[in-house]
């Protein structure tokens, strides 16, 4: 496997059992994601976008095939090993931000750092840097309910990048935002990709959002077609 390849999916299949029926989402999917890529995955509902994202994030396991990340196979890891792997390598951004409502912005950003051995003072430095990066230093003590949707999503981005992950997975990150705010968020993701070399995989329904990515994969019934929209 090339050193430039961060993710490599080989013959991945995913099947669900519903009663007596077996639903096949993927059957022998092959896919590679290079370091520094900004990949948008589009497709109709039920095409398998979210299932693919879940497998990339180690929150769902394939039924068959292999998933390699940075030279290590992850599809055979135990639940606890996967949790540690996610903490070390993945930053997640959700459509509805999923901030903890009882924690202020900086405490939300701190969450992934609680899984590290960093001291409180070191954690504080990292939190400050992450909030600075998303231009929310002045909102550090604000509760999620006191912030707009766009601000909450920026806090979520700060939480995703505070532990310096290799990969950021975004599930409809602008799905709950207006156009203007969505553009701000997407510009921020683009900046993280270009300036900080973060590999980003983004699932979206929005063709405008996909334009911010370096490339887009269209998924339909578990099969995707690569189409370079950014070019």
């Amino acid at each position: 496997m090339s050193d430039d390849i961060l993710f490599d999916l080989k013959g991945v299949s995913k099947k669900f059992t519903k009663g007596k029926d077996t639903i096949t989402v993927f059957d022998g999917l092959d896919m590679s994601i290079a370091r520094g890529d900004f990949l948008a995955i589009m497709g109709p509902s039920g095409s398998g976008k979210t299932t693919l994202l879940n497998m990339l994030g180690g929150v769902d396991q394939p039924t068959g095939g292999e998933i390699w990340f940075d030279g290590s196979r992850i599809d055979s890891l135990s639940e606890n090993q996967l949790a540690a792997w996610r903490a070390n390598n993945i930053g997640f951004i959700f459509q509805f931000y999923n901030l903890m409502p009882m924690l202020n912005a900086e405490r939300n950003v701190e969450l992934p750092l609680l899984l590290t051995k960093l001291s409180r003072s070191q954690r504080k430095k990292n939190i400050a840097a992450a909030l600075e990066l998303v231009s929310l230093s002045d909102r550090a003590r604000h509760m999620p309910a006191e912030m707009s949707g766009g601000q909450q999503q920026r806090v979520a981005i700060a939480r995703a990048l505070v532990s310096d992950p290799k990969l950021m997975l975004c599930d409809e990150p602008t799905g709950d935002l207006d156009r203007e705010t969505a553009d701000e968020i997407l510009t921020m993701l683009q900046l993280l990709n270009r300036e900080y070399d973060k590999t980003i995989v983004m699932v979206t329904h929005d063709p405008e959002a996909a334009k911010y990515a370096k490339r887009t994969l269209h998924l339909d019934k578990g099969v995707f077609v690569e189409k370079d929209l950014a070019a």
Partner: protein, 384 residues
């Protein structure tokens, strides 16, 4: 320790629910602390009974009297170290509703038999020297504001004097304490001679006798000697160890232990349902958040511990506050002008309470903690 902040924030996120749940737990533990103190106080009457002390009663009933002549005969029984006799006086001070334990006793020998009562030598001598003198326990003296040197009238709701009066004048000559904090100091003792010479119901009878043997191992022998001595007489005796006598006396009220335990268990059962339900609801509301935490890399076992810690912390706050409040309530009860045994909130009550806290926290937390442990990330996130 890093997770404690999260546990605390989760616990305090809904202030009203927290207040109501803690309040319910608080009430349960206050009931527990107070009733346990009562139970221990009643039990202490049995536990503090001397092993070498016997009670000699009329065989028909302890309400029937014995002739005074029995006293010297019992005193002469082999292995009897000391003996005093006691008559229930039915005394009250000022208010007929405030009746207390008051006995006419053989003052000269009384302190030999009840040597756990602490009285200075000077006060003891003053009592023996003054036929109208009485000694009062510290608790009752504080309740009525009596001090050594006071002259007080005490009425009887049973006896009257020969001139028809029901009040007797007494000099407070001594205030006794107890070696053990739970020793009953709510009783009053005065001279039998004063009682016998002034009351109008005929004389020379005694209520019961208290006997100290030279060794507890000789109790059976002494019991047999005394009861055999008065067998087939008009007033046969029944001699029993003091412990058995006190136990039987307390059991007349009913099985106190069972009653108190039932009340405490009922309180805890209600709390179990309330807190358990509250915890289950609370965790169910946080399904998506738990899913997010697992996604970020928190392990299931770590989340399990956090949920259980939250439940334990909830029980601990309510439990500690409840037992502290029961301490204040007990102080109030001890200081109130009512005749009750001395209540003590000692370390054993605290230890028991802490065991209940752990039990309550664990039982109410285990179901939501298991739900959190088993929660599938994808299922959880789909609810967000």
């Amino acid at each position: 320790m890093k997770d404690f902040y999260l546990v605390l924030k989760n616990l305090t996120r809904k202030k009203m629910r927290l207040f109501l749940t803690v309040f319910a737990t608080f009430i349960a533990f206050m009931i527990f602390g107070t009733l346990t103190a009562f139970q221990k106080a009643f039990d202490s009457g049995i536990e503090l009974s001397a092993d070498d002390r016997l009670i000699v009663l009329n065989k028909i009933s302890f309400t029937q009297v014995l002739p005074i002549a029995y006293a010297n005969r019992v005193r002469a029984v082999e292995h009897v170290e000391a003996m005093t006799h006691l008559n229930w006086f039915g005394g009250y001070y000022q208010d007929p509703r405030s009746q207390f334990a008051m006995f006419a006793v053989d003052a000269e020998n009384f302190m030999e038999v009840f040597d756990e009562l602490v009285l200075t030598d000077a006060q003891r001598q003053a009592w023996i020297d003054n036929r109208q003198g009485l000694i009062a326990g510290q608790a009752i003296a504080e309740n009525f504001g009596w001090q050594v040197g006071d002259r007080i009238p005490i009425n009887s709701n049973i006896f009257s004097q020969r001139d028809g009066r029901t009040d007797w004048d007494f000099d407070v000559v001594g205030i006794y304490t107890g070696e053990d904090p739970q020793t009953d100091t709510n009783s009053v003792y005065f001279h039998y001679e004063y009682f016998n010479e002034t009351q109008s119901f005929g004389g020379d009878f005694i209520g019961f006798m208290a006997v100290r043997t030279s060794d507890p191992s000789l109790n059976e022998e002494v019991i047999k000697s005394i009861d055999d001595m008065f067998a087939n007489s008009p007033a046969e005796t029944e001699t029993v160890p003091e412990k058995a006598f006190n136990k039987a006396f307390i059991e007349q009220i009913g099985n106190l232990s069972l009653i108190l335990t039932s009340v405490v268990l009922a309180a805890f059962f209600v709390i179990l349902v309330i807190v358990g339900n509250s915890m289950i609801l609370s965790i169910r509301e946080r399904t998506a958040e738990i899913g997010v935490m697992k996604t970020l890399g928190f392990t299931s076992s770590r989340i399990f511990r956090m949920v259980l810690a939250e439940s334990l912390l909830l029980a601990l706050i309510g439990g500690v506050l409840g037992v502290l409040a029961s301490g204040s309530l007990i102080t109030l009860i001890n200081n109130a002008p009512i005749q009750l045994p001395v209540l003590v909130l000692d370390s054993s009550v605290w230890s028991q309470a802490m065991l209940f806290v752990i039990g309550l926290g664990f039982i109410t937390g285990i179901v939501p903690a298991m739900s959190a442990l088993r929660l599938n990330i994808i299922t959880a996130l789909s609810r967000s």
